[in-house]
């Protein structure tokens, strides 16, 4: 979901003509997620990823929402897994200025699954550059032992790439919990889907 990373390659030029790239150093944009149980987001959800993933660090993020955490395998242009944990009603899944003309709607505790799906759709259209968005499925699904939903969708973005996504979530005690996978329809989504299923099935609430 946080695919859109403005960056300047001038960062390389800091070191003038000395070694460019290199595996040892980096400014810590991503940290390693090991294939073992861990808590995500604000700590209220525990998941077990079936293999190593990369977690987007919050050090450099400017629109950090504590309840949201993003992972990727191959980079956000190709795949990303996002967690929403314990988001209260009246809050947003991203930071945005109140003055922007187009805005992502806020989450409300009394939202039904179609309303949450609509909120995510607006996120994709407003923030993530989706030109065409198709819901391909919305069905009930248990999540962490609570009645929830599974939301499947496809979207065509301004870079002309079709991407596919699946979100599994539930509103538990007025808060939103969600795991979302989004990836390029060619190869990458399908390659990461087993991971999403494993993570969703392993997810537990930390009380």
């Amino acid at each position: 979901m946080s695919r859109f990373i403005p960056l300047a390659l001038t960062a390389i030029l800091v070191t003038a003509c000395s070694s460019v790239g290199g595996e040892g150093f980096g400014y810590g944009g991503y940290t390693l997620v090991r294939a073992q149980q861990r808590s995500v987001g604000d700590g209220s959800m525990i998941v077990t990823p079936p293999r190593e993933w990369n977690r987007q660090s919050s050090v450099w993020a400017i629109d950090d929402i504590r309840q949201v955490e993003d992972w990727t395998l191959n980079g956000p242009y190709l795949d990303s897994m996002s967690f929403v944990t314990g988001l209260k009603g009246g809050r947003y899944i991203i930071r945005q200025s109140k003055r922007t003309a187009q805005q992502v709607p806020k989450f409300r505790s009394d939202m039904t699954a179609p309303e949450i799906a609509a909120m995510l759709e607006s996120f994709y259209r407003v923030k993530a550059g989706a030109i065409d968005f198709k819901t391909t499925g919305l069905s009930p699904r248990q999540f962490m032992g609570y009645p929830g939903f599974q939301f499947d969708f496809d979207h065509l973005d301004t870079d002309e790439v079709w991407r596919r996504g699946r979100a599994v979530g539930a509103v538990i005690d007025t808060r939103l919990y969600l795991v979302l996978l989004d990836g390029a329809r060619a190869h990458y989504y399908a390659a990461a889907l087993p991971d999403l299923e494993a993570v969703v099935n392993s997810a537990r609430l930390k009380r």
Partner: protein, 408 residues
Amino acid sequence: MSVLVSRRGLLAGGGAIAAAALGTGIAVARILPGAMQPLIGPGYKPTDRDEIGLWQQMERVEEEIAGSNLLIKDPGLNDYLRDLIGNVGGPAAKDMRIYLARIPEFNAVMFPTGFAVVFSGLLLRMRNEAQLAGVIAHESAHFLRKHQIRQWRDVRRKTDLLAIAAMGAGVAGGAAGVYTGDLARLAQLGTILTMLRYNRSLEAEADAMGVRLLADAGYAPMEMSRTWEQLIGELDASAKYRRKKRDRGYSLFSTHPAPEARMADLKLSASEVTIAGRSYEDHRARYLRAIGAIRPTLLDDQVKLNDPGASQYIIDTLAQDGWNGLLRFYEAEVWRLRNRAGDDARAAQGYAVAVQYADAPADAWRWHGIMLQKAGRRAEAKYAFAHYLSVAPDAPDAPFIRQQLQFL
């Protein structure tokens, strides 16, 4: 409208130039439609070296745009647009091409070789065929008056473009490459060819000639100035909702009459080209038939951006020609997404109104059901959900709705 600057950017540019004009006391006189003759005829091909070079490059741009998957390829709609440009394209009508892009912005772009790209946001906002034809006529006028090459030559004189030497017949016709994403950058950056930004007098020429082409083809020429009114109204409504002034560049509008001056000029020109006794049409019915199938998608694309001021304005404008189930539904959607205090009640009422119309979309029944369910009106919710499933049994969310029915 220039090749690149969106209507919004154009208004900004117009405002700035007008401010400067007012400052120095020089006003741009209205260009008379009668004075506007086309500078090219049917089957036009360039003979000047620099223009040939420009054309070769534009052929490549057209090739890339034609290959973009952001285009709307519906044959009926594309035929309709082709017919329109055939009506108002003047002598070059048969030579021009038109592409429709799925981008929810109010914009249309004419390239120097006679192909135009119309954004779906434009199609949404036009009330009738005359308004759409007016925009296309304005764009065609840029082509017919050779504005692009004239402006390009003007800019060349003034700047130190390094690449001049290679321009011309020497550019390899087989140059190939990929323009992925540039179609959308058209909307964002508003430019693909910076040297083709038009100055105010070229825009005035396009207005004058456009209104004449429009009238000659039998369309009501006054409709051209109305599209300006509508855009300004929308920008105002959007900014007002977010409690701010119109975007940077538009603050000039509050004190300088530039867009109003253009509107005034257009009204004058429109009355000039009107021949007494002749009937002029807006062909609204024909237009609605042509875009009928895609209108829900256009409204959807706009409303889901959650810009309530703009979306409400657009819906109200379209509703001046009559409310229907589709418009009432999307009005309710605006309120649902807007979600200020009391909006959930407003939206609920909106859906209840929408479903009374025969043309209410299936989605209206689903949302109606959800609102009823939340209000505890179970029997009515059950009816609404059942109706939804009967008109859309293969809807993607049918499994979810079926489960809801079990609880009711």
